[in-house]
Amino acid sequence: MGDKRATLAEAMATVPDGARIALGGNTLHRGPGAAVHEIVRQAKRGLEIVKTAGAYDVDLLCATGCVAVVSAGFVGYETPFGMAPAYRKAVESGVVEAREHACATVIAGLRAAIQGVPFMPVAGLQGSDLPAARGFRAVADPYSDAQVYVVPALIPDVAILHVQEADSAGNGRILGTRFEDVLMAQAARRVVLTAERITDGAAFAEAPESVAIPGFLVDAVVSAPGGAWPFSCTPHYGYDAPYLASWVAAAAEPATARDFIASHILTSTPVPA
């Protein structure tokens, strides 16, 4: 396989305005923090974010005007820091469309994309206002006439995933929870990996089941030590609680958010404290 190494700037430069981007990780954990910061610096516009449960990534990209649509099941910092202020404001003011999902319908949409079919049936949703709000249709099972909700294929233009180790061919090893990263890598038209470290990958052949992302699905791999920060990246570091607390406080007001972004993101590449 060819050498797919690229710089973070090069890899993110391939993400066009208006792209539908799937971001790996979940809430405070193993999100592609460095890639998200580069997207802010490159001032992308009109992005759609696909994720089951987002936090700082969604919130920051809303604060910086990069986002038009958020397709997610949950956006918040969980119990540690609560709701996502910039995301809230952007949706409440109508600047960003919250294309609300159940996490399971994000997965169903990705599964349809992966399996090359236009829709995926999904159990549940009965009694919820979501199908009506989102236009999820029910179809009749041709074998029983039972009605089942189906979710349209959700095909990301780019999946951006942070892994603990990768080789130059794009084989990516994930330690611990894989979240929806593997589904995103299969569903997306293009895949960009950022990795804590790029190695020769010789050890991968000893334990190929530890390689979550096969290289042939990957278009670019970026060396990004600390590249999940401020998200956690087990076993290397936890999420940066003081940083996230200060961001959430700043994010409540546009002026303070702007100052925070200018000093922490635009002028420098943040790295783990």
């Binding site: 979940n26 449960a53 949950f74 609300e100 996490c103 159990a123 949703l125 009965q126 206002d129």
Partner: protein
């Protein structure tokens, strides 16, 4: 509203009450932002339900965390797991009827045990955009039993009418700082009030009508054994984090 002199701390009471609802042999799942379910499930497993299967959004199976995290997606919850499943696997487990218990919450909860985690005010122009229902719209109709918990019990939480129905389904119990609802038919009824809670206080905190009186059972306070095991599992008091 709770006479703390005569009553246990609400976090202890809720964790213990939730743990008592779990049975050995059951598969139990919690998702994001769920410290109380995390503590309650581990508590039940250490007390009366050793063969309970503890599942959570990290994909761990019966993990034995060395420390309890405040984020319930934290890799700390992987410690000791012998298998790693995915969130998709866990939703599928529920979808095919093999998930016994799912813990869910709601910013608004109505008398039928339906929940709103989506928006306050008009859905398309919300006064407050909420985080969203995560797995609830899929889990509530498919899990065999749904246990709702909410650390706020007031008239803005337990409402006559939801602004949006994020999810509805197989609610079994609702545990709050004031007491426990059980679903009878399609409606929530008060099963017990926690020690020190008066019928008037419970009624005043609930917008929809509830039948409570002096004959309403009182929740058994946490036993010494329950509190001892709880402190051993959760020495840092993560159980209090949802009350911050």
């Amino acid at each position: 509203m709770i006479d703390s002199a005569a009553s246990p701390a609400p976090w202890d009471m809720m964790a213990v009450a939730m743990a008592r609802l779990l049975n050995s042999g059951e598969t139990v799942f919690h998702g994001v932002a769920s410290p109380l379910p995390m503590v309650a499930t581990l508590l039940a497993k250490h007390l009366h339900a050793p063969d309970l299967t503890y599942l959570n959004i990290t994909g761990a199976v019966d993990a034995e965390p060395e420390r309890l995290p405040v984020s319930t997606v934290d890799p700390a919850l992987l410690h000791g797991t012998r298998a790693l499943v995915t969130l998709a696997d866990l939703f599928d487990l529920s979808a095919r009827g093999k998930l016994d218990v799912a813990f869910l919450s709601g910013v608004q909860i109505d008398a039928e045990g339906r929940i709103n985690l989506s928006a306050i005010g008009p859905y398309d122009h919300p006064a407050v955009r909420l985080p969203g229902g995560a797995g609830s719209a899929m889990l509530m109709p498919t899990a065999r039993r749904v246990i709702l918990w909410r650390t706020k019990h007031d008239r803005r939480t337990f409402v006559e009418r939801l602004d949006f129905v994020t999810a509805a389904g197989n609610v079994d119990r609702v545990v709050t700082p004031l007491g426990i609802f059980a679903r009878r038919g399609s409606r929530l009824e008060v099963e017990s009030m926690h020690p020190g809670v008066t019928p008037a206080a419970f009624r005043d905190a609930t917008e929809f009508p509830v039948a409570v009186g002096l004959d309403t059972p009182v929740t058994l306070p946490p036993t010494v054994e329950e509190l001892t095991v709880l402190r051993a599992i959760d020495p840092d008091g993560v159980v209090r984090s949802e009350f911050a």
